[in-house]
């Protein structure tokens, strides 16, 4: 699946998107897996309460299933308007 990062999550991880092969069942599991990759992932994704997630461009919960999902986006709370 494609994993996208925005705002300071993108800056800390150092890339806007990447293809990820995973068996993670939920978003929380995927985040846990990414944290294990490298220090910059661990730092960017340290505090899940500071993050929001969208699955296939719809806001979702970290407990949601990744079944059938093609695009996951991780980002801080939105500040539009």
């Amino acid at each position: 699946m494609q994993v996208l990062y925005f705002a300071w999550v993108r800056e800390r991880i150092g890339r806007p998107r990447e293809e990820v092969q995973t068996d993670a069942a939920t978003v929380a599991e995927l985040v846990e897996e990414l944290r294990g990759r490298e220090e910059r992932y661990a730092v960017a994704l340290a505090d899940i309460s500071a993050l929001r997630v969208a699955l296939d461009q719809e806001l979702a919960e970290f407990t949601d299933s990744l079944d059938g999902v093609r695009e996951v986006a991780l980002f801080p709370p939105m500040t539009g308007g």
């Binding site: 705002a7 939105m78 500040t79």
Partner: protein, 146 residues
């Protein structure tokens, strides 16, 4: 187009007039415009990042919800992304209704949702460096009004 996501600057007055002119039977028009302001001194620029694809979808859903909940003739959302400087317009919403209450409430609702549910992130640059704008708890709380 009632949802516009663009990097180009736009003219809120021109948009307001065009919006009003296009609604025949609605006598009440409310607009909100958000401007880049150097409130505390030192702000040099603003950078707005967004999530192309999701942004348009999220704004469309928020607009649809407003059209469902209130008696509106029309609703408009324009939001910029990219580099902005103090004094420039960031975004605007406009609503038109036969009833001023509907026009006001729907515009207020659009703003509350757009603040916390549309994928935009603001970064402010000053002499001291650049920082992402932090989301405020009161913006999240504001959603519970609806």
């Amino acid at each position: 187009m009632r949802i516009r996501v663009q990097s180009d600057v736009f003219d809120p007055g021109v948009e307001l007039n065009a919006f009003s002119a296009a609604v025949d039977r609605a006598g009440a028009v409310v607009s909100f415009s958000g401007l880049v302001r150097d409130v505390d001194g030192g702000l040099q620029a603003m950078e707005i990042e967004h999530y192309p694809g999701m942004t348009e979808k999220a704004l469309g859903q928020i607009r649809d919800e407003a059209m469902r909940r209130w008696d509106l003739a029309d609703a408009l959302i324009i939001h910029r992304h990219g580099a902005l400087t103090p004094g420039e317009v960031i975004m605007m919403v406009a609503t038109a209704s036969r009833h001023r209450k509907d026009a006001f409430e729907a515009a207020d609702f659009l703003m509350d949702y757009l603040k916390s549910r549309a994928p935009f992130w603001k970064k402010e640059r000053s002499g001291a460096g650049a920082d992402w704008v932090a989301a405020r708890d009161e913006d999240e709380d504001a959603l519970r009004r609806w």
